[in-house]
Amino acid sequence: MFVRPLVRPVMGPLVRRVTAARRGRASLSSQVAALMASFAGPAKLWLDPWDITTLQQDSAGTTPVTAAGDPIGRIMDKSGAANHCIQATTTSRPLWQATFGAFDGTDDSWASAASIDFTSTDKVTVIAGLRKATNAGRSQFLELGASGAVAGSFGMTVPEDATGALSAARNGGLGAGATNSSALAAPLTCVESVGFDLAGTTHATQTPVFRVNGAAASVSNAGLANTGQGPFGNLPLNIGRRNGVSFPFNGNLYGLIIIGRLLAAPELTLCEQYMAQQAGIAL
């Protein structure tokens, strides 16, 4: 008797690839979960737009995201620290596009619902899966605090300016200092990793990690080399705009990890591999 296969043979390889990708993502995701769980305290954040169960349309978290194109008014922190991020203004909510949050480059952003306390540390690692759509102007992708002038702040611009360079800035209490990548064309989908260490006294030691797609970026520096010895602040985290007002980010967020210490090389590689899978790129 002929039994009709449940999956047509031509679909078999595709189904196997998708299934394998999901298995791989689940494996990396569980390892990232273990890493985040191993870090005690509030100085951490893990946003995962792939995970629809963490997304709500409104800032109060009452209406779940269910379909592509829905606004993301609240994205829940998976780190265990409950540093959920919200956007109360309807027009400023990034849109969910199945695997990422899309920022429109004019007024979209999130902010942590409350300040995030990084005062226990002078070290922070940020790993982001992102797409910059344009190099039209400065875009404040992420910033702890209202601006780079705030003591204890850190931030990343994507891009910093029309050259397309990515920038990572910190302020340990004396003022702002920044490390910039070389010019990068847009559009660009990438994994960006930055490590800040306010115990350092030079640009190189205050930003010991600056990687794009798993490789050390060619960098230049601006502002103070020694911005102070910290620690980082207990401040609101802004994603997509500076202080919810200026330098709007135009692009996609596939995932974001922030943790209040420098990661060991295998940990950093794990997070980058995870984030690359989120962004759909190969490292």
Partner: protein, 116 residues
């Protein structure tokens, strides 16, 4: 709840009025609008402000017709005359365009403030 996309561009002189009105009509989801400045050159001074994204369809109806806006104001007890509604919407650009399409149509660019 049904959302629709709208791109709203208001002259800077009317932005305070538009901010207040949107928050009064839409509640807290309408607060914090019109914070992104625009100008023809992309440099200051800001001549317009933009808000772009999803809004509730009933709020879109209010923004699409001065008479509906005036009715909504009257119903909510907001002191905003029909003439003022007409003036605000006449001077503003309300469309379902993507934001950079609307800005291009009006010859406007984002204004980048000085970085700190």
């Amino acid at each position: 709840m049904t959302y629709v996309h709208r791109c709203l561009i208001v002259p800077a002189a009317l932005a305070p009025q538009a901010r207040t009105l949107c928050e009064q009509l839409a509640g807290s989801p309408g607060g914090g609008m019109f914070t992104t400045g625009l100008s023809a050159s992309g440099a200051e001074p800001v001549t317009h402000f933009i808000s772009s994204g999803l809004i509730e369809d009933k709020f879109a109806a209010v923004l699409g017709d001065p008479a509906v806006m005036a009715g909504a104001c009257a119903q909510a007890g907001i002191n905003f005359s029909p003439a003022a509604c007409q003036a605000l919407l006449s001077a503003s650009d309300v469309s379902d365009d993507a934001p950079f399409v609307a800005m291009g149509r009006l010859g406007l660019k984002l204004v980048s403030a000085a970085a700190a």
